[in-house]
């Protein structure tokens, strides 16, 4: 195509300009993929918390977990409008597990069937079986990432907090928090939880009576907000009740930070890539002054000259976008492969991200071409013709 020949006139210059934009687009693609993953996690979390309330003492997320007792569960279950209340224990898999981006690795102790069938978040089992009512002792169902990290097989054994557990099932990937969780029966979790407490507190606690949070399912037609108000009234101020809105607020700030980072990257690459392209096109126009003069003289309209410049400029953007996208795709695939073994698949390069990156790059190129295009079209044909 004529266009490619024009770009090939100054190969080094075209290459440098394209590389500049490509790097920016690559960063956009990588960060965008990370943001996709973040948003999926947050979205998953938001959906999960939307239809229930969680009761705890102190703040579950600050790690400052004070135990509840099963008597509390009973109290909650009898509050008007509550369809089901089930205790659970959430604790970190190990104390150094605060490492990864995304969610930390957890042990989740649950009463299988305690939701009375009201839990809407469905997790599919990939191998083996889920926990069922009556399950007790040192058995576990692992999330997909954790299973991979621990190299677990159904029927095999894994060590959770130095205690052997038999793996009875492995979940299919959910792309959200459960992928990093080891689900165990409540009694096993109680045992591990109490064992992790300082000895002074251990002696004061009955292990069989302990929970870290209560999941409350509203009856049909009753909103979680209503239940929250009633629970707060019943339980008093030393208990914390959180509903979907509270979680959205908490998770929302993470989402905002990511959006800011993404916008920052986009803005920077726009600035750098755009300026570089404007410069390149301005130089190209200056070098082709004579040629533009000829074309104008033999009848090319101003609009046609502008169009030529903008199209060439947009092509630079598109080519750079394709290269940046390709490199970004390679990088995210590589990072994902490296992280998969430790359960950290952090990048999700969606079709939407890819198309946005290409459209952005092409648009950037086109816009960068506007000013040089305008200048080119305003050249007087006669003076341009004589330009040396």
């Amino acid at each position: 195509m004529r266009l490619l020949r024009d770009l090939g006139r100054r190969k080094l210059r075209s290459t440098l300009t394209i590389s500049g934009i490509a790097i920016g687009i690559m960063a956009l693609v990588v960060f965008g993929s990370m943001a996709n993953k973040m948003n999926a996690l947050i979205g998953g979390g938001s959906k999960y918390y939307a239809d229930k309330d969680i009761v705890s003492v102190g703040s579950m997320y600050s790690g400052n977990i004070q135990p509840l007792s099963l008597a509390d569960v009973d109290k909650v279950a009898h509050v008007d409008g509550v369809a089901a209340a089930t205790p659970s224990i959430e604790m970190m898999l190990d104390d150094t597990s605060a490492t990864t981006m995304g969610t930390p690795e957890m042990i989740g102790g649950v009463v299988p069937g305690g939701d009375k069938g009201l839990e809407s978040f469905k997790m599919d089992i990939a191998q083996g079986r889920k926990l069922v009512p009556g399950d007790t002792g040192h058995i576990t169902v692992l999330g997909s990432d954790l299973a991979r990290k621990l190299d677990a097989k159904v029927g095999g054994t894994v060590k959770l907090r130095k205690v052997d557990f038999t793996v009875v099932g492995i979940l299919a990937p959910t792309l959200t928090a459960p992928d990093k969780e080891a689900m165990v029966p409540l009694d096993a979790a109680q045992e591990l939880f109490v064992a992790s407490l300082p000895p002074l507190i251990q002696s004061k606690i009955n292990a069989a009576d302990v929970a870290t949070s209560i999941t409350v399912y509203p009856a049909k037609g009753v909103s979680p907000e209503t239940i929250k108000t009633r629970l707060e009234a019943t339980l008093g101020s030393s208990y914390t009740v959180m509903d979907g809105k509270d979680f959205d607020e908490m998770l929302g700030s993470i989402s905002v930070i990511f959006s800011l980072v993404l916008t920052g990257v986009a803005g920077l690459s726009l600035l750098v890539g755009g300026l570089s392209t404007i410069n390149t096109m301005a130089m190209a126009v200056a070098e082709r002054t004579r040629e533009i003069g000829i074309k104008r003289a033999i009848g090319a309209s101003r609009w046609r000259i502008r169009r030529e410049v903008v199209i060439e400029s947009a092509a630079i953007g598109l080519i750079a976008g394709l290269i940046g996208l390709a490199i970004g795709a390679v990088m995210t695939t590589m990072f994902n492969d490296l992280g998969r073994a430790s359960g950290n698949v952090l990048f999700d390069l969606t079709l939407g991200t890819a198309i946005t990156a290409l459209a952005f790059a092409t648009g950037l190129g086109a816009i960068a071409g506007f000013v040089p295009a305008w200048g080119a079209s305003r050249l007087d044909p006669v003076t341009a013709l004589r330009y040396e």
């Binding site: 003289a297 309209s301 101003r302």
Partner: protein, 248 residues
Amino acid sequence: MAILEGRNLRKTYRLSKKNTVEALKGVEISIEAGEMVAIMGPSGSGKSTLMHLLGLLHSPDPNHGPAPELYLGGQDVAGLSDNDRTRIRARRMGFVFQDFNLVPTLTALENVLLACEYAGIKGKAARDAALEALGLVGLADRAGHKPAELSGGEQQRVAIARALVNKPEIILADEPTGNLDSDRSAEVLALLRQFNREHGQTIVLVTHDSEVGDACDRVIKMRDGRIRDNGLRAATPVMATEPVAVPA
């Protein structure tokens, strides 16, 4: 019938804040269809400027004198916008320059096709017209060559093909032989004459070369921004010792 008629044509160029050049001081000109006319004169005589006005590259100045008039094929083109003038140039005129002025990254064929594109000729019709034009100048077999691969004479011939491809009412040539040696000059001149004689193509040339002038039907002589001699002779010769400018 007059293909190109102009009256009261003036043009002043502003080179800088204080420096203006009155290139054309009031010119009257009339070119008949089928004529081959040369415009000659020393540097600064305004011949190139006149060419630019006739080629609608610039507009005649409306001020400092009676309103300028310019007609192409009977159509008033004196006060047209840049877009309109560009359209007319594309569809009804052809240009040949001293420096050949072919686009270096395009082949001979593509250079001629450019003129088709601007004239609104597309697709197969454009390709056929371009090949025909190249054939007329004897370069059909060099259609795929870029200007760098062509000699000066060949480049000029491609330029002529480009000027012809849209079947223009008039071809304007600014020093078409200026950059050619005498043999190539003669070739180019012969080509132009051929188109003029055989196809009735109206051609206006600006030239320094008296040989070119001799090959034309008429020579317009310019000096200091005015026409001194429009080359027309009265039916009965006037017995005078000096050449007399005869009104058209």
